[in-house]
Amino acid sequence: MSANDLALGAAMAAMVAGAAGTVFVADVPRLVISLGVFLLGVAAAFLVMGSPLLAVSQVFVYVGGVLVLVLFALMLSRRGGGERPRVESRHDIGAAVIALGVFLLLTVVLWPSAIDPEPVVVAPEAIGAALLGESLVAFELVGVLLLAALLAVLVIVKGGADR
């Protein structure tokens, strides 16, 4: 077992622990820390597998953006009177079923490439060239799609009066 395998194992252990914490912990700061451990674990796995750009983007977008916004929203919605909000759901079983379904779907789709793992190392320059070269149209379309989604959220949040 090489040092690389050990590092990958550690990253995966962090991912599993973080994911379990995110599901089973109800206390908000601990939940956010668990989610953070999971996301950093994903970044570490990308790094070990030879995609530093993906690892850094993971930290930039998910830890620095999404996770901060989640915590931000939870803090804004905090009720007064010393009561600590807890994240609880009445739909645990349904959520578990859906999670299992997504897991099965991904397993079935990704299985052909998973049985013969060829390490794919792509240089950051190649990713940049692909995004601004042959995949330019797709890249721009995704951008427009995200913008449309954001505008849709704005419209929904604003409610009926200003629509």
């Binding site: 820390i33 530093p52 850094v56 930290v59 620095g64 916004l69 600590r84 950051p124 320059e125």
Partner: protein
Amino acid sequence: MTFVWGLLWGLAAVMLIAGGAVVGVWWERKVAGRIQMRLGPQQIGPAGVLQMIADVPKLLFKEDIVPTGADKPVFRYAPLAVFAPVAMSVAVIPFWAGWAPLDSTVGMVFYLAIPSIGVLGILLSAWGSHNTLATIGGLRAAAQMISYEVPRSLAVLSVIILAGSLQPTKVMDAWQWWWVPLTFVGFLVYLIASIAEMNRGPFDLPEAESELVAGYFSDYSGFRWAIFMMGEYGAMISAALFGAAVFLGGYRWLPGVPGLVLFLVIAMLIITVVMWVKWTFPRLRQDHLMTFCWTVLTPLAIVQVVVAGVVALWL
């Protein structure tokens, strides 16, 4: 072996930041003294230099107070999540031709991405304090830091476009003197956004003492408070070093050791300018702060990116 080296460099970075923070506090008090016609430290040692030796034991030996209502483990360890990313960001700064402590192929993005973990530390410490002032301070810090990341990243992007690489040492190899006038607006945007990122005046709304006591670190004292201070001064040192290197050319002006010395002098000048700004300008209002980011800095940074992109076509 790589691991041992990494550990040693990590220790060196923490030492550098901690030592730099102690000297920085002394220097800031001297600068503020000159600007505002106050005295600053002058009693202990020549020009008060021994004041910094007196300050450190004071902070270390103060009682470690954890409020009764706080979420104790979160409260205790959140400051580390504020400090660690700052120390990590120093790793990719190119100090010498072809050499950075961690010469990563994506170092420029690494430098921009890592401090965003610090935002999480600030939010967690604010939450852990379980205190209204801390909560408001934490919310302000998060809003401010994720907003100012945008113009900051765009400003650095202009240099990345000109150099055609994400690797800091390669950027330094490609650096030309005429990039300084070309990216000067970008440098100013970078500097202003960096001041906002490190929550220093005039952008220190999250810790505004006149309204929020000290914001997200109201409840901290002793060495945990000192970790926040180390984070703030460390962010200033790191931002100054990075700006001095990629925007102002760093060691490229002179060959060999004089180049390194000049690089450090430029960084210290930037640090002094940051302090000068803090002690000269009054604090902004929260909505002005956000408006300034989205309607002034971000468009300026985009214009800078376009200029760099057009020039890069002719390179």
